[in-house]
Amino acid sequence: MTTIINVPHSLEDKSFELVLDQVAPLPLDEKIIVDTRHARWASPYGLTALLALAQSRAERPILYVPEAENVSTYWSRMDFFKHAAELYELQGRVKSTKAAETSVLLEVTSISKSDDVHDVVDKIQQRAQDALVKNLNLDAKITMRFTMALSEVCQNIVEHAGRGGWVAVQTYTWRVRLGGRKVVVIAVCDPGIGFRQSLESAPGFQRKDRWDDGQALEETVMRGASRFRDPGRGQGLAGVRRFVGNWDGKLSIRSGTARIAVLPKGDWDEDEPLVEDLSYFPGAQVQITIPERVA
């Protein structure tokens, strides 16, 4: 049996839940067709999560590619199809292009080992200064901090996921929520063991009365817990939290059936700090959003 998974026109972190609602009830070895034909736009989160989705399936899925040429071209520029071809059976016309996408700070990139993080950091430093300082009017100090945050969230894959994942970074204009303000978005998605299983693998781990994905996210993100006994562990996400706090940004991390968010001080986002009972999806999906500074 093959099930068609309908992908929303606009694919980002929230709308990706509609995809997961369709996929989660299906057996892992059931063939799925991920239908993106009518997609009009995808955020870095949407693209990296689509790749993680394919990794999470036992049976190689089919991907119907977007019909709109500009969408297909854009996804090509993001290097999405380059990686998707390894994970999906692609069906439809993929428009290849060599032209660079100026809003892209980092194309969809595979992360599975420490060297990959070095490559990402080297690559983004060359592009981040202009994008963050000139386009988003952010203080020059942000460039290094931004790269540090990117490095830390990528390392979570290498250190904890147990399998490879994906990162992408892009600037774009958020027309609805920020009233035309630009944002820069980092998305890092993996289909690995996730936060709960990672903490459960800690030596001497004891399950609490209430123990679920939401609790595991709170322990890790808000209290710096780690599966390692080394007290130096757990600082990376704490640093990322400080970073988004200093720049009125937002950090959201989804793992298993829950999503936790460190919300901006400003009123540009109305997300809940913790959302539970979501459809199950393995691994961890991280999104960092930093808005343009306005006078």
Binding site: S114, M144, R145, E152, Q235, G236
Partner: protein
Amino acid sequence: MINHIDVSSMLRKSVCELYSNLVTRPTGAAVRCEIEQELDRIGDRALTIIDFSHVGLLDFSCADEIVAKLLLQYVSIDAPRREVYFVFRGISESHMEAIEAVLERHRLALVTQHADGESQLIGIVGFEERRAWEIISALGAGVSADVADAIGLSSADAEIMLDTLWRRRLLIRYDNAYVAVGSATIPSHPSSLDA
């Protein structure tokens, strides 16, 4: 003897010739091992400048592996492994953020030296201990009586405080006096000093 370790060179030597950023925990561990090998060559008593001038990015994981774990090995109130003193140079504002975070996490402190030669004590140090370090630093060299007078402590308490700072390798002890690590008055041959 004052030794100089260029962290960027350690990175290129131990991990990859092309890298200039200190990111990821394995990279930090490899660089620290390289630094430790250098320290083994130097001997049991030494003042070593750890120079970050040519390092681009330093993330939290690398700061933990290189700075915190290095200090944890050589700086201990109970039983310091060897008499090795560190001065950290070339610390940029962004390096500082990662370094301060790991110092706080492990309750450590270190001395940084700015380009103009001015030294600064950063990390977790008690208010009076910090004052004591600053007094010794300003004097060039000092004894417990100098600190006792300035802070209003008994001579015995001042001596305990200076001893603690010495054990944390923030002061160098010689001839019954103390010199602040990073001070311009540090003798060029600390191996000749009495511990």
